[in-house]
């Protein structure tokens, strides 16, 4: 880095950069808590295997093709990124990066890569691979593309030398480092060899492995899941388990029974609270519990009447039985979140009262709706019981208020395809906004900014004032100055009934008792397997 490297930067203060560098340098010894111990145990035991029942199907192994938590396991375990979010509260740690510097104007980032990192085929991971991976993300038009497209143009990322990469942003961005977790680096030489008609190797990579992660893909079958074996040459040393077997098990009961019987050692927590309680009561289970940042909400289609009318959105917001949902259906396991930013996250305002279940108020607002009313569609996601139940509960409230509605439950792949097309998007859809990076922008920015419409902003919400505040927040490096901007955005969105915000969820990690070392991080939902061991 030139003259900027030694000075305070726009993106981060100097001591942050130095701290990052120091952390990076320390990785491999004691930089990542518990790592040395886990490594030692792994080497001592040598074996160990986990069968993990996953409720979402793995339909691809391409790390840039998916951007959801349900299929995060292969991204986290087969691939490495420049940075990685770890633990809870989440901290972003240099991973493939050793250190980085930021220019004064916050637009130029230079990363020094760790040397000696090998891909699974034995070749070196270099700056060219990072450049190729970023270009690939920007070119293939997948959900993760939307994360980086506003930040940089294709061709702007450069390999300065074998282990130095330069990113040139269009404008300063306070979240660039936070999003680099999702820059999974692929083996460019290998992928290029398998490109067909300029497809960036998408067909090949959807079924093969070109990573450097803790595990090497052994078998992949979309109907069954994937099996991966420990990569002993991983730059952090061998992982704790020799083999990870992620199986697609659609039925909640099959997952729960399999876990109780010992067929599986872990499963995802996307199940009714009643099943979590059932697992908690089992003496062989260790259902881990942690505060998380995962907003459960419903979209409103802001481009389609009657949702274009604020009074209608407010009326619908008063039709959801929040207390019945939280206290009865979810057994008090979650906390009401009245606005778009999860309560534990900085930047979340504490003074938003939110909407209450009040049919009289709903009727009052309905009388003031200026556009013709019609039957609305409330959608839920098949396989996600909470989503379907919430849709049914809202329908009940709507019926009491006199709003005609019909329910439509569809599987996530169908739902996610509809996000991008406002003509196909549902009037309302119950879903979660998970943590992809621990920053209020992950919710406020992604769900509300007009440049994210169809890619996070699934209700096609648009408010120039919100856009202005979000842009200002992105261009502001200091967290203390950013926080009030996000608080203001969240208040405006609540008053504007931009979405029907319901609750912030806890994370439950159902594992058998002999599984140790789970490191939960809201980004990835604790599915990074390298820390685990079987006792």
């Amino acid at each position: 880095m030139r003259e900027e490297s030694g000075r305070a930067t726009a993106g981060l203060r100097r001591r942050d950069v130095l701290r990052a560098g120091a952390a990076g340098a320390a990785i491999g010894t004691a930089g990542l808590p518990g790592l040395a111990q886990a490594q030692a145990q792994a080497q001592a035991q040598g074996r160990g295997r986990i069968a993990f029942a996953n409720g979402s199907a793995f339909d691809t192994m391409d790390p840039h093709a998916t951007f959801d938590v349900g299929r995060v396991a292969y991204r986290l375990n087969l691939y490495d990124g420049l940075m990685r979010w770890l633990d809870n509260p989440p901290k972003i740690e240099p991973w493939l990066a050793e250190s980085y510097t930021v220019s004064e104007d916050g637009k130029r980032y230079v990363f020094k890569l760790r040397q000696g990192v090998k891909f699974h085929d034995g070749s070196d991971l270099t700056a060219d691979d990072v450049v190729y991976s970023m270009e690939r993300i920007l070119s293939i038009g997948k959900p993760v593309t939307a994360l980086f497209t506003p930040l940089m143009d294709r061709g702007s990322t450069k390999a300065l030398d074998r282990y130095t990469v330069e990113f040139n942003l269009k404008s300063a961005s306070a979240i660039f480092i936070a999003t680099l977790h999702d820059l999974y680096v692929v083996n460019s030489a290998l992928v290029k060899r398998n490109e067909r008609n300029g497809d960036w190797g998408q067909e090949w990579l959807s079924r093969n492995d070109a990573g450097s992660g803790s595990y090497v893909l052994q078998r992949f079958d979309p109907a069954r899941g994937f099996l991966a074996r420990r990569y002993n040459q991983h730059f952090l040393g061998p992982a704790g388990l020799e083999e990870i077997d992620f199986r697609y098990v659609a039925e909640v009961n099959s997952r729960v029974l399999g876990l109780i019987r010992g067929d599986f050692q872990g499963t995802d927590p996307y199940m009714p609270q009643d099943q979590i309680a059932r697992l908690q009561a089992d003496p062989n289970m260790n259902v881990m519990e942690a505060e998380s940042t995962r907003l459960f909400y419903a979209t409103f289609h802001h481009q389609r009447p009657p949702f274009t009318d604020l009074n209608f959105r407010k009326a619908v917001s008063h039709c959801f039985d929040y207390d019945g949902w939280i206290n009865n259906i979810l057994g008090g396991s979650v906390v009401r979140n009245t606005q778009v930013i999860p309560n534990p996250m900085w930047g979340a305002p504490k003074d938003v009262a939110g909407y209450t279940y009040d049919i009289d108020k709903a009727k009052w607002y309905l009388q003031r709706v200026q556009v013709p009313l019609r039957e609305i569609t409330v959608a839920g996601m098949i396989g996600y019981e909470q989503s379907m139940q919430a849709a049914a509960l809202l329908q009940n409230g709507l019926a009491r208020a006199g709003v005609q509605s019909k329910l439509l439950n569809e599987p996530f792949p169908v739902v996610s395809n509809k996000f991008r097309d406002p003509a196909q998007m549902y009037d309302m859809l119950f879903l979660w906004r998970s943590t992809y990076y621990a920053d209020p922008h992950n919710w406020a920015g992604e769900m509300l900014h007009s440049n994210r419409r169809g890619n996070g902003n699934n209700g096609y919400y648009s408010n120039p004032e919100v856009d202005r505040l979000l842009d200002q927040a992105l261009a502001t490096p200091d967290q203390a100055r950013r926080a009030p901007l996000y608080e203001q955005v969240a208040r405006i969105a609540a008053e504007d009934a931009a979405a029907l915000c319901v609750h912030n969820g806890k994370w439950y990690g159902p594992f058998r008792k002999n599984v140790q070392g789970v490191r939960f991080c809201p980004i990835g939902d604790g599915q990074e397997m390298r820390w685990l061991r079987i006792t």
């Binding site: 039925e251 909640v252 009961n253 199940m271 009714p272 009643d274 099943q275 059932r278 039985d321 019945g324 949902w325 009865n328 259906i329 098949i382 019981e385 139940q389 049914a392 509960l393 329908q395 009940n396 019926a399 019909k406 329910l407 439509l408 439950n409």
Partner: protein, 284 residues
């Protein structure tokens, strides 16, 4: 008619079937009177969700706290509506088609039967799923899907029966007397094969209810909050085995109704089919 009823009364299995079906019809008609919580078809009471069977809720409550007994009664209306309408449409399509194809010979007749063969070549449930999935979940679409997949059974049956009796002397006599083909088919052939149609229809009702429940289970039936039995079972899966009543009672209702139609169909066949009666007499 009285003779048939008397014969049916002698057949205990058929009598049980008849009682079950009458109970289904009574439940469907009297649902508002018999149900303990008639509002629960659309109303939720989350505070009492997944309550086990008891004095307040005889068959327990579901995931939203609605009374399962009341929803089952109202669900009988949907089940009956779907089954009766779908079968009626299938009969209205299949019977004339079979009659015409069986009575006439030639290209047109062959074409009609080959079309029905094509429909029969695809498993009914797969075809019904494909149609219901394409059209979207609703009662009307379930009826359409079932009708479109069931009519070939009647067409085949009527075709075969017509072929077998079209050369009988009474048919030839009618033709010789100058009866029009329509008159021969409707007034001479159809009454002679009506017993087979009735038996097939009765047994077909059971299968139709099962298929309708399957479509509901797969999320292709009428959308919530309609208390359709198949979808209720699908919803209950997430809460098994804790809330066993949630799946057990709708499952039991489907079982009893399907069994009722099958028992009655078997009984009717024994009573109405002269060949079976003769075989039974000779057997003695």
């Amino acid at each position: 008619m009285l003779r048939i009823l008397r014969k049916l009364a002698e057949d205990r299995a058929a009598l049980v079937g008849l009682i079950l079906i009458l109970a289904l019809i009574a439940a469907a008609i009297l649902a508002p009177l018999l149900s303990t919580h008639p509002g629960d078809v659309t109303e939720f009471h989350t505070a009492r969700r997944l309550s086990p069977p008891g004095p307040e809720n005889w068959l327990g409550t579901d995931r939203m706290g609605s009374d399962i007994y009341s929803r089952l009664l109202f669900g009988a209306r949907i089940t009956l509506t779907i089954a009766v309408t779908a079968i009626a449409v299938a009969v209205l399509i299949g019977v004339p088609m079979g009659l015409i194809a069986g009575y006439y010979e030639g290209f047109g007749s062959n074409l009609l039967m080959r079309v029905s063969d094509i429909f029969l070549a695809v498993p009914q449930i797969v075809l019904a799923i494909a149609i219901a999935q394409t059209l979207g979940p609703s009662i009307e679409n379930v009826i359409l899907a079932l009708s479109a997949t069931y009519w070939p059974f009647w067409a085949r049956l009527v075709y075969a029966e017509t072929r077998s009796i079209k050369n009988e002397p009474f048919v030839e006599a009618a033709i010789a007397l100058g009866c029009s083909p329509f008159r021969v088919m409707v007034l001479h052939i159809l009454p002679s094969i009506s017993s087979s149609i009735i038996v097939r229809t009765t047994i077909g009702m059971g299968g139709t209810i099962l298929t309708a429940a399957t479509l509901g289970f797969l999320g292709l039936g009428p959308p919530p909050p309609t208390p359709e039995w198949g979808r209720t079972i699908a919803e209950s899966r997430e809460f098994l085995p804790m809330a066993w009543w949630y799946a057990a009672f709708p499952g039991l209702a489907i079982f009893l109704v399907v069994m009722g139609f099958n028992l009655l169909g078997d009984g009717l066949r024994d009573v109405l089919d002269p060949r079976l009666r003769r075989a039974a007499r000779h057997g003695k």
